[in-house]
């Protein structure tokens, strides 16, 4: 049996080694580089020809638009070539810190607003205050929350490109058949619409997903019911507040009242909507181009106010310039030129289905006749996660699971949310120790 034994032992070692190898490769490479590279930014780049690595996660209908914009930038700039690398967002946030600490990261990147604080706290981003001065960007051209959430510890780390929120998509043919003339805007008219759809033969008009984007729906509802899922400044999770429980109970009631089948797995509700099997779905505005391409008769409207006041979950794509050991003055300045140019072109970006972050761009008419135009009007009620380092990972481990359990009915909203709140607060506490606040 000696042969067999040694084989098994080898396998056992390799298990332990698997995790450890990853850690070794990642950790062996030291921490981020010098934060003071770049020097004074003059607004132009006249150094030698340079190639910039540009990472983003635009894998959906927004991807081709971004590439077009990059191509145009490359045409207009002789000495800068931007090379895009598109990685699905889920992997992006895992890969970027590893690449940066290994000195293999990009020169410029796009990331979500709620991730900025985590990356800034890890000292993986370059402060961009001088760039906002140069661009003449100021708080009054942006929604307050978008502008302030890109700041961490008194410095600015992101230049907002767009905002994107949840929207309510509905099948216009189904609405017509059910005789719904007015798009529902509150709890009552929403229920009435669901009943009308059922009467018209659409048995399950609003499929309630158990995973993504279910927790975004839940956050939306928590805010609508007057809750504050992470406290005022992200200091304390409060999913088990009355608003949190009401939000989850409402989601579950959609299934119990027969408007949705039970056990809707991830992506299923969206596939069902595209196939015309369900009439309404709440999803991000990043789906607009995909729905356009599918040929489905659909329209988009703001998410109805189920709770007491209008609110909707939103996020924002931000340009960032990562720090790394290989950064030199040239690459940083060229990256600044790229970010500045992109920020000025954010009107074009509306073609991706997103909403430009700048008031001046939004009011310039780029949103006229676009699907997301109606949703952009709601910008004042858009709510963002607080800029707390590590909040994304906390949410994935706690709220997302609690919402899934509540929607599936495996636990009561109370039990699910209480447990999630307890462990979220534990994790937030540990994060504070890690990030040395």
């Amino acid at each position: 049996m000696t042969q067999t034994q040694s084989t098994a032992r080898r396998r056992l070692f390799s298990i332990a080694a698997g995790t450890a190898t990853a850690a070794l490769v990642l950790a062996g490479c030291g921490t981020s580089g010098d934060l003071d590279v770049g020097g004074e930014f003059t607004g132009t780049y006249d150094g030698p020809d340079i190639e910039l690595d540009y990472w983003n996660g635009f894998t959906g209908g927004d991807g081709p638009f971004m590439q077009e914009m990059v191509d145009r930038f490359n045409e207009e700039h002789d000495n800068i070539t931007v090379v895009s690398n598109t990685i699905p967002w889920g992997d992006f946030y895992q890969a970027l810190p590893a690449a940066l600490t290994a000195g293999e990261g990009p020169d410029v990147a796009v990331m979500h607003l709620d991730q900025l604080a985590s990356f800034a706290a890890r000292q993986l981003l370059l402060p961009l205050d001088d760039l906002t001065d140069q661009l003449g960007l100021s708080a009054d051209d942006f929604t307050e929350e978008v502008w302030s959430a890109a700041e961490y510890d008194g410095a600015r780390y992101g230049i907002p490109l767009d905002v994107h929120s949840l929207a309510m998509y509905y099948n216009t043919e189904h609405f017509e058949a059910a005789g719904i003339d007015e798009v529902p805007t509150d709890a009552e008219s929403f229920r009435a619409a669901l009943d009308a759809l059922q009467e018209a033969g659409y048995d399950t008009p609003f499929w309630m997903p158990s995973r993504w984007p279910s927790h975004l729906m839940n956050l939306t509802l928590q805010w609508q019911f007057g809750g504050s899922p992470y406290g005022d400044a992200g200091e304390e999770a409060q999913f088990d507040s009355e608003a949190g429980l009401e939000a989850l109970a409402w989601q579950r009631s959609i299934i119990e009242d027969g408007y949705s089948p039970a056990d809707v797995a991830i992506d299923t509700q969206y596939v069902a909507f595209k196939n015309g099997e369900t009439s309404i779905t709440w999803d991000g505005i990043w789906q607009i181009n995909d729905l356009e391409a599918s040929g489905l008769p659909y329209a988009a409207a703001p998410v109805p106010t189920i709770g007491d006041s209008p609110a909707v979950w939103a996020n924002s794509h931000n340009f960032v310039i990562p720090t790394q050991r290989t950064s030199d003055e040239n690459s940083v300045n060229a990256a600044r030129v790229f970010v500045a140019w992109m920020s000025e072109q954010s009107g074009t970006w509306a073609g991706s289905g997103m909403i430009p972050a700048r008031d001046s761009v939004r009011s310039s008419g780029v949103l006229d006749d676009t699907t997301q135009g109606a949703i952009a009007e709601q910008i004042e009620s858009m709510r963002f996660l607080p800029p707390v380092p590590g909040i994304g990972a906390v949410q994935a481990e706690t709220l997302e699971i609690a919402v899934a359990d509540g929607v599936l009915g495996t636990r009561t909203p109370d039990a699910a949310m209480t447990e999630a709140t307890r462990s979220a607060n534990q994790l937030l506490e540990e994060n504070r120790a890690t990030f040395g606040e």
């Binding site: 049996m1 390799s14 298990i15 332990a16 950790a27 600490t101």
Partner: protein
């Protein structure tokens, strides 16, 4: 076979060989060097380094990685800590999956190997069909089945309904349905590998033994019990252990098919370690978890070996 893998040992650790050693005593080591280098770089060093990480609050992006001693391990055994619940729930999930998947992965491939050993037209095609899924990556397998098994839009429930069977089982979002689905997909995906090993071992059993059994009037079942199974015994312990370890390391199927749903119920230990270490950047916790998992697997493998060893001694 048994004889060849039990070398006679001398006190100096070298196998007894009648002929004298020729050349330098370093020669065997030189031949081993390439492997030892790889083994050291990719196994020994990471294991030791992982041990070191597990003694720290280790976030590789942060300059400060404070030494915490055995705190990360203590947390795994403290019910009020942030890692206790998720980790042991994931160990439970791994346990459930292993218990459910190992028996079918031992029995079904054996049955298939027995059929494939027979001579019939189209045998090679048959062999290829059973082995084919194994060449697919876990991502392909899991995404394919995730949609087939979807309880609302999937084909599996549709056809079950057409056959008059229950068509409302949520294969990816409820237990025990999710366990059935995960085990089924794993069996479908990997049975070809075990079947090939069984087939090779079956072809090693001397035909004379079967002939002798037939002469003695043994039925097909007696032949299986008294000739085939004993002939397979050495390979059986090998298959049992690699299947056990493969099942205990299950990750991709639940990561892609169920996302651990419902809740965390099908989130396995490796899944939890990945989430903690690579998504949550809590490398210290994750390393401590992997060492506890490794320890449990070492114990389990040892039990399997002892079980098989005793059987052999009984026979002897």
């Amino acid at each position: 076979m048994t004889a060849t893998i039990l070398p006679t040992r001398r006190p100096d650790g070298f196998s007894a060989r009648p002929r004298g050693r020729r050349g330098s005593p370093l020669t065997p080591w030189l031949f081993l060097t390439p492997y030892l280098v790889l083994f050291t770089v990719f196994v020994i060093v990471p294991v030791v380094f992982g041990m070191w990480i597990s003694l720290h609050a280790w976030d590789f992006t942060l300059p400060r990685r404070p030494f915490v001693g055995f705190d990360n391990y203590a947390k795994l055994f403290d019910p009020s800590s942030s890692t206790f619940e998720p980790f042991w729930a994931s160990m439970r999930a791994t346990g459930i999956f292993t218990v459910l998947s190992v028996p079918p992965l031992l029995i079904i491939p054996l049955a298939i190997a027995l059929i494939m050993r027979a001579n019939f037209p189209g045998r090679n095609l048959f062999r290829a069909i059973y082995f084919a899924p194994y060449v697919l990556g876990v991502a392909v397998v899991a995404v394919l089945w995730r949609y087939l098994l979807d309880n609302n839009i999937g084909l599996v429930n549709y056809y079950l309904g057409q056959l008059g069977l229950p068509d409302d089982i949520a294969w990816t979002t409820s237990t025990p349905g999710a366990w059935v689905a995960l085990v089924w997909v794993t069996v479908w995906w990997t049975l070809g590998f075990n079947a090939v090993i069984y087939l090779a071992a079956l072809q090693d059993i001397p035909a004379e033994l079967y002939e002798a059994a037939k002469v003695d009037g043994a039925s097909a079942w007696s032949q299986f019990i008294h000739v085939t199974l004993p002939g397979l015994r050495p390979i059986l312990s090998f298959i049992a252990v690699i299947t056990l370890i493969a099942s205990a390391n299950m990750f991709g199927q639940s990561y892609l098919m169920t996302q651990g749903a419902p809740g965390r119920e099908t989130r396995t230990a490796i899944y939890q370690i990945t989430e903690t270490g690579l998504r949550g950047f809590r490398m210290g916790d994750a390393s401590a978890m992997s060492f506890v998992l490794t320890f449990v697997l070492v114990i389990l493998s040892a039990i399997v070996f002892i079980a098989f060893r005793q059987k052999r001694e009984e026979r002897a």
